[in-house]
Symmetry: C2
Subunit: 155 residues, 2 copies
């Protein structure tokens, strides 16, 4: 069953390139043995650098289920998720991740996955992205409001 | 000028909590001294765990400019981005990042940012997310199609 869902993700990835809709990545979200939602990479055609297959699938599954968490669901991805998608999988509270190709396979095909995995853990001053911290004290004001809020919805 | 844009991001974050629209995070994308797009966290109200302020702002800026990259733009975030948003900033090819509160401030307010920064660099077997690799060879098929494609749009 796991292989069936993963083959579907790989098929979505292959069809996505063949149809010209985007990069070679597909993902499927499954709950209790049934597909909840599918996604493929639409970065270039939808003008959205965050429209990776996993993000597309997570957004579609949440929209379908009317929730902002996917506990009880698993994600099947044609490729090991990039750091953006891996963190999104955590934020979505998915139960488990299944993948086929590795991040090194993705890098060999021209994608920045391994580079990003190396960048994320670095101190801000060591990253290739110029990063500057300002207004540290003022920046805590929204958190102070959040802590006091009685109507907030934690996530 | 930098402080002005960052104060706007902090204001968006504060208003977002006060209005009940989501978490205490705001972001602004700027090009040549002018705001291109703004974003605030809408995870709970839009049923989208990826709707962090930075992602919302990146998607809005790309939609407005009709592009999937934001070279020439900078992002101002009320808080140090989580790994999902940091990777999205790289994928969007933004020139620079300015932020106010730190990821430790976010964690102190109840958000998983520091936990995720610790999870991302781990080997898959060491992460709290159960992760399984299957069908490694079949997984390379979409990349083989991608490499041969003459109509692909690299990103």
């Amino acid at each position: 069953m796991y292989e069936e869902f993963l083959r579907r993700a790989i098929q979505l990835a292959a069809e996505n390139v063949e149809s010209g809709r985007g990069g070679p990545f597909g993902a499927v979200i499954v709950r209790e043995g049934a597909v909840v939602a599918e996604g493929a990479n639409h970065v270039t055609t939808q003008h959205d650098p965050t429209a990776h297959a996993e993000i597309v699938a997570i957004r579609a599954a949440c929209a379908k289920l009317g929730t902002f968490e996917l506990r009880g669901c698993s994600i099947f991805s044609s490729c090991e998720p990039c750091p953006m998608c891996l963190a999104a999988i955590y934020w979505a509270r998915l139960d488990a991740l299944y993948y086929a190709a590795s991040k090194d396979d993705a890098s060999a095909a021209g994608f920045d996955d391994s580079f990003l995995y190396a960048q994320i853990p670095l101190e801000t001053s060591m990253r290739s992205l110029p990063t500057h911290r300002l207004l540290g004290e003022e920046g805590d004001r929204p958190f102070a409001i959040w802590r006091k809020s009685v109507s907030k919805i934690p996530y």
